[in-house]
């Protein structure tokens, strides 16, 4: 191993790659601009759709309202729902989204309620449909209030205190520090993004520097220079690793900046970031209401844990792409690997899956889980050590494999 040769190869590959549009896209443009735009865009659309659904006054139908005109009138007056005339095909209309829900009142509901007890009120909705759910919620709320009022009347009539049926109340309060809340919300998605970016960042240069060179016939030119093959592999590998890390760091930085600036825009009112000093407080408060703050130590921890994973990805993609004769062939080998990478990352995103000693040995999944913890301010040093250590071992093995493959003439000169 000769470092001056490795650096010569690395410097040339860096220069060469920065002139390659495909690598430039996957290493710089997409992580810096497209990724945050995509995430903000999806977030923005989701918020808009949700609040629009919220603000819509749902159309509902009332069955059996003839014997309870007072209740129907009160429901109509509430302005929370929009009552349409009863039709026989109400079920179909809910399915067709012409109406959102239907409520069925028992016969003589009003009279029985005044007397003290009535039969059940049934609310029909389309399960899993957002707007239908909102309509059902509104109906439920209306009838709950109606019930409470009936109870209060009955109690008053008997001269009993209202606390009889509600002797105490329950309240929920959050004791987790703000970064923990941030960790739980962001903790799922950030490790996932990091893993994908590390992979896609490594992908194009890894294919270009191996199969691409074979295809263009420059591999043979390079191999007749008096540089040991191990130096060539390491120089090339460092370039792939650079691209992988660059993609990840650029995306995170860009997203961090977007959050800081965009937090204000999200909260709506305090968006005029004119007087920076004065607005800073308002902005951070607004930002934390949308994006809870993240522990900076957690971010550094995540970056440290990602390093061996980036080495692992770079070495694996490099080795796989080395087998291919052409860039196209390499793509067909490397593309399926994305699923191998995404699956554990997705599993790590699922709520309820917690780190343990066995999962700490599963590559990618362990990163996903430990990142979630670190961003929540939890530091299980024993697991962190296992994960870092095991990933370093996997990465080392993958890199050794890449070096070995590069020395095999049936791989380099595949006929």
């Amino acid at each position: 191993m000769n470092w001056s040769n490795i650096i010569t190869v690395y410097a040339k590959e860096l220069k060469d790659s920065l002139r390659d549009r495909r690598t430039l896209m996957s290493m710089i443009i997409i992580p810096t601009f497209v990724m945050p735009a995509l995430i903000f865009g999806v977030g923005k659309i989701a918020t808009t759709v949700f609040s629009k659904a919220r603000s819509e006054i749902p159309t509902v139908m009332v069955l059996g309202g003839e014997t309870s005109p007072g209740v129907v009138a009160a429901l109509g007056d509430s302005k929370k729902v929009n009552i349409v005339p009863t039709a026989a095909d109400w079920k179909q209309q809910i399915s067709d989204k012409k109406i959102r829900a239907t409520v069925q009142l028992p016969v003589n509901f009003e009279r029985d309620l005044a007397a003290g007890a009535a039969e059940s009120v049934i609310i029909y909705n389309y399960d899993g449909e957002l707007k239908s759910g909102f309509a059902a919620n509104e109906l439920e709320k209306f009838f709950r209030t109606l019930r409470e009022r009936a109870v209060a009347t009955q109690l008053a009539r008997r001269g009993l205190p209202a606390t009889l049926i509600q002797p105490f109340e329950t309240k929920r309060e959050n004791v987790a520090p703000p970064e923990k809340v941030g960790g739980n919300l962001l903790g799922g998605i950030v490790p996932y993004l990091i893993i994908i970016l590390c992979f896609t960042g490594a992908m194009y240069p890894a294919m270009d520097l191996t199969a691409g060179e074979k295809e263009r016939g420059t591999m043979e030119t390079l191999l007749c220079s008096p540089v040991a093959r191990v130096d060539i592999v390491l120089g090339k590998f460092l370039m792939v690793l650079t691209s992988s890390l660059a993609a990840m760091v650029l995306a995170l930085t860009s997203m961090g900046v977007s959050f800081a600036v965009g937090g204000a825009i999200f909260s709506g009112g305090g968006a005029k970031v004119a007087v920076v000093g004065k607005v800073a407080d308002a902005t951070s408060a607004a930002a934390s209401s949308v994006m809870p703050s993240i522990d900076p130590a957690g971010v550094l921890g995540v970056l440290a844990m990602v390093l061996p994973v980036a080495v692992l990805f770079s070495a694996v993609i490099f080795t796989v792409a080395l087998f291919a004769k052409s860039y196209k062939e390499a793509q067909s080998y490397v593309a399926p690997l994305i699923f191998v990478v995404i699956m554990p990352a997705v599993v790590g995103m699922l709520p309820g899956i917690e780190l343990n000693a066995r999962l700490a040995l599963v590559p990618i999944l362990n990163l996903s889980l430990v990142c979630k913890e670190m961003l929540s301010g939890i530091w299980h040093w024993n697991y962190i050590a296992i994960i870092f250590g095991s990933t370093c071992v996997y990465a080392g093995v993958a890199l050794a494999l890449a070096v070995k493959m590069f020395d095999r003439e049936d791989v380099i000169f595949r006929a």
Binding site: K15, R216, G217, T218, E220, T221, S225, P226
Partner: protein
């Protein structure tokens, strides 16, 4: 100097089984000499030359480049070697100057030495006008000149050419032939493979006829004529190859 002793290379092929791309190939080339390896497609020229250039390891047999064994001292052997083949391309996204500089650096030259050497080579090969343009925009002639400069940057003692005129137009091919002759004049040891009879006739001091991985005959043009009783090199070639196939 180049010395090959019983160079043999076999490949395992799924359909054809074990193929001997080269079998017991032995020859010797002295400084100032051009050795021509003449053979049809698939005769084993590229395999033989790749073994000399340390790109492939011989299955059996051995070879030395300027005294360095191609297996045990492959780095030193490559340091004495310039290898030019139809399959050794240029980096399209680098300029000619960057390309040549890169190979100077890989050969351990200082940047001052590289600059001086590029100046000399660009003068000789008339490259100044396109030295700072990117290789992917070059004509075949410009590419060929850049490749030559790349092989010569470290002024190697041994030059190996594997069908360097393959697919080139007449003018470019002629300039290559002239350049190979220049190498000889400077006392370099040269191996030149081709399937074009006229090139061998014009260029080579010693000719080796290779067929089916074996070196069937070796000698000067006069010796081969005498051996076969044919004046024309093409007839001589056919006769030698035909005698082998008849066996």
């Amino acid at each position: 100097m180049i010395e090959a002793r019983f160079l043999t290379k076999s490949f395992r092929d799924k359909k054809r089984g074990e193929i001997f791309a080269a079998r017991d190939v032995s020859f010797r080339v002295e400084p100032g000499q051009i050795y021509g390896l003449l053979g049809a497609n698939g005769a084993g020229k590229t395999t033989t030359l790749r073994m000399l250039a340390t790109l492939l390891k011989p299955t059996t047999g051995a070879a030395t480049i300027a005294g360095h064994d191609v297996v045990t001292a492959s780095t030193q052997a490559r340091a004495q070697l310039g290898f030019l083949a139809a399959s050794t391309a240029l980096y399209g996204r680098l300029t000619a100057r960057e390309m040549i500089t890169y190979f100077g650096e890989l050969n351990g030259m200082t940047s001052a030495a590289i600059r001086a050497r590029i100046k000399v080579l660009a003068d000789e090969l008339d490259m100044h006008e396109f030295l700072d343009r990117r290789c992917d925009k070059f004509s075949t002639g410009m590419k060929q000149k850049t490749s030559i400069a790349r092989t010569l940057i470290h002024d190697p003692a041994v030059m190996i050419f594997d069908e360097p005129t393959l697919g080139l137009d007449v003018m470019t091919a002629r300039s290559i032939v002239k350049f190979v002759r220049d190498c000889k004049a400077r006392g370099k040891t040269v191996v030149y493979s081709t399937h074009v009879m006229s090139e061998v006739e014009k260029l080579c001091d010693v000719i080796g006829i290779i067929h089916g991985g074996r070196l069937l005959a070796e000698g000067t043009l006069a010796q081969l004529r005498e051996k076969t009783g044919e004046q024309d090199i093409e007839e001589a070639f056919i006769k030698i190859v035909g005698m082998e196939d008849a066996k």
